[in-house]
Symmetry: C2
Subunit: 299 residues, 2 copies
């Protein structure tokens, strides 16, 4: 696919911050917290379409949908995941592109990607006005995903779009702060994370363990952090529904919509994510001591 952009090679600029870039300072974001069901493909896709239309009607420029939003998550086995997967020329990617074109959206969302030699990847794409800008294969697989999917072998993409420089990863990836740091150093202003958060790991009603990590990721890197979670019960699996937006100080700026379908809108001031100033003498990236971090590359 010649339209797929490889990760933008933009080394961090520790001393002076991210280089100036044309584009809007404020972006209207929408998150569709969808009910997704591997046993109801039509209903699942209908929700995607309805959400894209609603986004356009409400002036949203950047829409983020959950992990595997196109096909569902709870596969029985590899064979079922393979059967539901498609390559980048398949109808799902085409349909995402068409939604993006029709509604004038930059759109991030998940799907099961058919790879080479019968492999299936838990992937997310980024489309802009009909054009496929990036595809990312989840690098850190969660639990039974290891039975169905082959992990990706590339860092997460960072892509310049008309709504800012966007990083893209998926769910459990966020629990690896070194992976997040990498996209932030490449200048991501907003990190989009299509997700499926299972309820078993929620520490209690109204609490989501993963939110802490998302907030810290935002705050340590001074980026906007966007999690598009899902809801519903799928083959007995319950889901949190913990979609959220964290500002570059780590504050959650959206009201949580736990345990049900939801629609979240937030205006993101990208300038806040370009400024890595912590104090007059501190800079979130410039204060790093990479010469002391080599130990974390040990296998």
């Amino acid at each position: 696919m010649t339209t797929v952009e490889t990760p933008v090679e933009t080394p961090g600029t520790p001393a002076g911050g991210v280089s100036p870039r044309r584009g809007p300072q404020t972006v209207r974001l929408g998150i569709g917290q969808l009910r997704i069901d591997v046993d109801d493909p039509a209903g699942t896709w209908h929700a995607v379409e309805q959400t894209a239309a609603r986004a356009a009607a409400e002036g949203v420029e950047l829409l983020v949908l959950p992990e595997l939003a196109a096909c569902g998550y709870v596969f029985a086995d590899h064979a079922e995941a393979l059967a539901r997967s498609e390559d980048l020329d398949g109808p799902t990617v085409a349909a995402y592109r068409e939604l993006s074109r029709r509604h004038g959206l930059v759109l991030a969302a998940g799907f099961a990607e058919r790879g080479e030699a019968g492999r299936v990847h838990n992937s997310a794409l980024l489309v802009e006005d009909g054009e496929l800008r990036a595809v990312y294969r989840k690098a850190h697989l969660w639990d039974a995903e290891k039975l169905y999917f082959t992990p990706g072998s590339a860092p997460a993409p960072v892509v310049d779009t008309r709504v800012g420089r966007l990083g893209l990863m998926i769910c459990y990836d966020l629990e690896f702060p070194e992976f997040v740091r990498d996209v932030a150093l490449r200048g991501a202003e907003v990190l989009l994370a299509p997700s499926n958060w299972p309820t078993e790991h929620s520490p209690g009603p109204g609490l989501v363990a993963e939110t802490i990590k998302s907030q810290a990721n935002a705050a340590c890197n001074r980026i906007w952090m966007v999690v598009a979670d899902r809801t519903g019960v799928e083959r007995g699996q319950h889901w949190v529904g913990g979609s959220m937006v964290c500002d570059p100080l780590g504050a959650i700026v959206t009201e949580p919509v736990l345990g049900r379908e939801g629609w979240l809108v937030a205006d993101l001031d990208l300038a806040r994510a370009r400024d890595k100033t912590v104090t007059s003498r501190n800079h979130a990236f410039g204060d790093r001591r990479p010469e002391l971090y080599g130990g974390i590359l040990s296998p």
Copy 2:
């Protein structure tokens, strides 16, 4: 100083978790949230002594005191910091060793360390039953510290003690998750962080921005996270008083004592920090993809 241990070289053991180690499973920790004042050295040190005695009386085995607890924080300039600094043979280190010996404590606490050629370091030591086990020089300096102190040039130490394998760093270091990851991969079960958190960076009453990062550090690495903060007003500078203990899932297990002197006690089950199991198929370290993290070593 032949008694100072260099960082324990214990590569992470991704597949099988941290190697078995003899020692207690549960350790009683005490945190002295002290009023520290550079203009009241006698009162400041008196509080240190009182806290060590209290710790012993309450069965505490591991005592953590704030950053620069021996001398105060708000120096006027480098000359004053230099005047208050001492080398490892000076009376402050001797006094910390004696407190540790007398009360049977493993003790972590801060002091201004005189280095070579007129340099001063914002340092923390770890003493065990009178023996100096490690000295750490803060690698990430906060704000005006850059005017007085020379940053350290070594990774944070990880030391085997009778109360577990302990990591040691200072305050702003915690905002660099790659630095924390490094000590966790070397097997630290408890990360001790003598700190001084200024109020300007608190997002609101009862809230401390740094707690989120500490919780995430604990949760991502499945370690106990201990912050010994300070209180008081020092030359016009107000301090949060945000001492806390996070368990290996990132939950705060101590009641906060904000804005005043405080004493926190918690029992730490070290076995919880040795088990990096996330699910039956997930391991906090084994799931890492170090081959994808090389970008974060770029300067």
